[in-house]
């Protein structure tokens, strides 16, 4: 396993994209744990933070892109894909800045992409028991999205809101042009499926947030549900893009 990892990584340019908004406390730890893997570049997209996110990321050895103002998670992540596309990366991995995603699973989600088993690999909290605990409302929301996306795509997805995902070069190119703006995770899955990309969901372990609070408040979560469902159904009414 170890040996194959090394050679495969050497032949591919891999970029870890970490969108960050006011994450100065958890960011250094996340970057350090990702950088343990040799040959993987780290890009932090600082989404108009007011704290020292940019300086802290730079100090921890990451490449940093500073956006001139806050674009929201979708705009920030897409910046990463655009950068990956321009720089010719073969694989891009999205990792949350808050420490919820365990970098030790990195190889696990990159591997199927490298071996061309799927265009995107989704790191899921629920495929098997992974010790992740969520509030009831959140579980309900995740369940609804899971049903809707599974129904539309004809493939079972358990954790559609997970932001821990790896994609290949074709998806990088696609995302550089087409990426939803706010609350993009669920919609991105439908978008990929509609455009003929394959997605594989694999179990990962996830920790609760180390610092700070989730950006989702009760009122926002209602908006979240409605916006995402509308966006998903709108995707069904659109013709697939000619590429892909």
């Amino acid at each position: 396993m170890k040996h194959r990892d090394k050679t495969v990584i050497q032949n591919n340019k891999i970029l870890v994209i970490i969108p960050a908004y006011n994450e100065e406390r958890s960011l250094p730890g996340v970057i350090a744990r990702v950088r343990k893997f040799p040959g993987i570049d780290v890009l932090v997209v600082n989404d108009g933070s007011q704290d020292a996110t940019s300086a802290v990321a730079e100090k921890a050895g990451a490449n940093v892109i500073n956006l001139p103002f806050n674009l929201g998670i979708g705009g920030a992540v897409q910046t990463g894909y655009l950068y990956a596309f321009k720089k010719g990366y073969d694989v891009a991995v999205q990792v949350d800045a808050d420490g919820q995603h365990n970098p030790d699973d990195l190889m696990k989600i990159i591997d199927p992409v490298l071996r061309e088993k799927a265009d995107m690999v989704l790191g899921s909290r629920f495929v098997e028991t992974t010790g992740y605990k969520a509030s009831l409302a959140r579980k309900m929301g995740i369940l609804v999205f899971s049903w809707v996306v599974s129904f539309i795509t004809g493939q079972t997805f358990k954790d559609t809101t997970s932001g821990y995902r790896a994609v290949n070069r074709r998806v990088i190119e696609f995302f550089a042009e087409n990426y939803p703006t706010d609350y993009p995770e669920v919609e991105a899955l439908v978008l990929l499926n509609r455009n003929g990309f394959s997605i594989k969901e694999i179990p990962v372990t996830m920790a609760p947030r180390e610092y700070g609070e989730s950006s989702i408040t009760p009122l926002k979560s209602v908006y979240y549900m409605i916006k995402v469902l509308l966006a998903v159904f709108m995707n069904l009414l659109r013709a697939p893009k000619k590429e892909a």
């Binding site: 490449n63 892109i65 500073n66 956006l67 674009l71 705009g75 897409q78 910046t79 655009l82 703006t181």
Partner: protein, 131 residues
């Protein structure tokens, strides 16, 4: 001419049209965004001055009080305009996001290049005013 609601409607619409045209002339309003305004102004003026037409259209539509047709026309046009602006705002939003992304990437590129040239001692560092 009687000074009544039709008179005021016509007068207001005419003033409105003049203001819109002045904005276009002074380049405060782009031609493509002025067309709907000019269109609605002219329609309102025609309806307000040509009472016979207004009454005939109103009775055809079953509207007893003819001037309320003016209100309906005005309100419907306002909705159309607002929707038109929502579409424009969405387009501007998309363009704005892309500009911010490209700007961020370009800034990173410049910093990377600066670091490569003269080990980080940049043109910006050596000039008197910091950028």
């Amino acid at each position: 001419m009687k000074v009544d609601i039709f008179f005021f409607s016509a007068l207001f619409s005419l003033m409105f049209l003049v203001v819109v045209l002045e904005f276009v002339r002074s380049k405060r309003l782009k031609e493509q965004y002025s067309l709907l305004w000019i269109f609605i102004s002219v329609i309102m003026i025609v309806f307000a001055l040509w009472r016979d037409l207004l009454e005939r259209v109103a009775s055809r539509l079953g509207i007893v009080y003819a001037p309320s047709l003016l209100f309906i026309v005005g309100i419907l046009f306002s909705f159309a305009l607002i929707l038109h602006y929502s579409v424009i705002i969405s387009k501007l939003h998309t363009q704005n996001v892309r500009l911010a992304q490209e700007l961020g990437i370009l800034n990173k590129k410049i910093e990377d290049l600066n670091k490569r040239v003269d080990g980080g001692k940049t043109i910006e560092d050596s000039t008197a005013d910091p950028v």
